[in-house]
Symmetry: C2
Subunit: 298 residues, 2 copies
Amino acid sequence: MKNICIIGCGLLGSSLLRRIHKKKLAKKIFIYEKSKKNLKKIKSLKLPGIIVKKPEEAVVQSKLIIFCTPMSEYKKIILLINNYLTPNHIITDIGSSKLMSTKMIKKTLKKDIFWTSSHPIAGSEVSGPENGKEGLFENKWCVLIKEKKFNNKHILFLRSFWKKMGSKIVIMSAKKHDQIFSITSHLPHLIAYNLVKSAQDFEKKQKYNILKYSAGGLRDFSRIAASNEIMWRDIFFANKENVSKAINLFINNLNTFKKDISKKNNKSILKKLVQTKKVRSKIIKLKQDINKPNFGRD
Amino acid sequence: MKNICIIGCGLLGSSLLRRIHKKKLAKKIFIYEKSKKNLKKIKSLKLPGIIVKKPEEAVVQSKLIIFCTPMSEYKKIILLINNYLTPNHIITDIGSSKLMSTKMIKKTLKKDIFWTSSHPIAGSEVSGPENGKEGLFENKWCVLIKEKKFNNKHILFLRSFWKKMGSKIVIMSAKKHDQIFSITSHLPHLIAYNLVKSAQDFEKKQKYNILKYSAGGLRDFSRIAASNEIMWRDIFFANKENVSKAINLFINNLNTFKKDISKKNNKSILKKLVQTKKVRSKIIKLKQDINKPNFGRD
């Protein structure tokens, strides 16, 4: 039981904080948080942990360092703590794309320091420490990134750590991670943003008030379009090559679909609609979603 | 209190049946249902109502006739009942697109018979009588279609009827209806189908098992992609012109977004992400969705 340092205490950072505290996994938990708004919330929520003004203060006293900031903040903070890092530090982050951040980290980090990246699939449309919860990672996947050069001790440590957070662990390369999540996460998010934007464009042009009819489908998409904008900008920029490929694949499918409906191609449309339906059952079997109609929200 | 005839007893038909029975709104409720599977379910669920073998049997004894079948079934059934209809019959349907069905109905219906179309926004990814419920329409919008030629008595009757179902009423033309729902409902559904299809294409090509990571966003879309395929084929075909326009608007937005991320256009991306976020708050304020993170399903 050693000290842990959490850098960035929003939704995910504060959830880790709560869980580590509850399970008594650290002697001391240090928190570095840049945003004054979040600091105020952390205090008024009476969250556990010791708030430090400079990340290096916490780093020198901690064994495990977890970056929970938007990815665009990593570099600045690495440069602040670089001289205080030792090969014994276990460093990880919870960023949603890996290839580009891995490259930047390798370039920026002092020699002989290891960084073992994590990605817990536990995001939400809400953010901030007030929305964190101790059970956020329960039964969720956490991807651990294993590159050519890796520190096995650190991977084993983090595997055990995330298990204590409640997660199920899978290990893969940054490349594979970024490909998979460009489809299962980044594409759905950008689609949601662009669908909502299209609805706004339509409203402006037609001067109809259409949002009150959003229960027909639009409201599902609006949920993930409400996610944190800084975090998502960082993800889209960092994974832009895979994301562009995913957009192209998707636009091709849309164009074929458009042709099919304009030609009333019954067979082709029905085949598609039936096939995609099966995916929902698979997702529910994989326990990635609940089985209640309308997510049980009605 | 007169008799009501429900033609097609799936999710919506059986929900109407339950509500009408509970509120004692009809002396007799007749049900015409083609599918043997659904008939079996209706019997084993011990739903109220009198099952008829031919729709005309029920029509001659009813004041209100409600079509709850997929739209592609309307014509066949109209031809069966046409000679039994009188101007006193109040006829409606619950179809999700209006322009094309209105035209077909006008063409097919006997002279002097009125058909006043309805669209309760109460669909779900589940179908069949086993999923119907008495409260399905509670606090949901129901669109009543008013065309140039209309029967005001019938509109007033149906307004009162849907209010008793629990709905809030809005009246508009078929043209406006089909434009609005091409954006708030038809586009989201076809996007969901095509996103799920893109994920399947990716799985086949890359041979990765990606569905287990669907909690990152994909699972939201898979819900509406699980909707009834016959109903949705009918909607896409019937509203193909508005739907094609909606696809074009959406693809334009996707292409601009792709350019923005490839150029790392920070300002433009952030503006979009922030603006679309506001729509979520509006939808929640309009009581079209609940305010719980992840729809409260975690």
